[in-house]
Amino acid sequence: MKIMLNDASHEFVGETLQDLLTQLGKSEQGIAIAINQQVVPKSLWSSTELNEQSQVFIFESIAGG
């Protein structure tokens, strides 16, 4: 299915937010995720299912002052 990921269309094979993260192969340390502008706690990543309406934003911590 196609979801919106960080404002771009993204082809996604899987069901949950955790599947998406595994597919992206990014470090899960220091990241946060929001779906449709609601922050999804880490404890819910593996039970949160995505659909074609899902607007997913993934944020990462970076250097800053």
């Binding site: 990921l5 220091g30 946060a32 880490k42 944020f59 990462e60 911590s61 250097a63 800053g64 002052g65």
Partner: protein, 258 residues
Amino acid sequence: MSSLFIAGHEFHSRLFTGTGKYASADAMMDSLNASESELVTLSLRRMDLKNQTDNILQPLLQQGMKLLPNTSGARTAKEAVFAAELAREALETNWVKLEIHPDPRYLMPDGMETLLAAEELIKKGFVVMPYVHADPVLCKRLEEVGCQCVMPLGSPIGSNMGLASRPFLEIIIEQSRVPVIVDAGIGAPSDAALAMEIGADAVLVNTAMAVAKQPAQMGKAFKLAVEAGRMAYESGLGEKRLQANATSPLTDFIGALS
């Protein structure tokens, strides 16, 4: 030198540091270690899905640094609250440096939005450290709504102009019942020492350490300056006066020649 307490957390170092603008993660760690800082700021951004970002989190955590995520990039209270909630998830801390600057040229903090966001974040259980203009009235309002400290600016972010706001910082320090951390514009160790001498509880330094040719040595220079300034403040500085006041006894032994 006394410890600093914020929200019950004890800091032995009164030098808080930012992690931006360093040439590499190694240079950053060398500088932060030399500075002996115990609190470092971080930012959040949308993940770069194409490139791997330099991992600075792991070395900071290994070193036992307390992390202070900021809300940089937020232009309104609503955006800042969202950024703080994301940061709480990302970095597993309820501490947040609240900064809202809608204008990218001068990066002046928006006091009204900051007050609104602070109230909401405090209700949500955050330890709020607001970055604001050196505005004594606003700092008092932020204290009243429950901010655990205030972070007034010395001069614009990254400007290295030092304590351009000094007279107002002095009013804030005199009035405040929460710690006052001078943030932004501190360009030289002497600026940091001055902030501590006038009674600031801590300073936050980033650019001046990060862009130095030798960041590690500059980190140590700031550590020494902050300690010197604080020790002088705690020791009690003498009053300024126009007339001389002799340090040697004015005896009339030279008069013996006549």
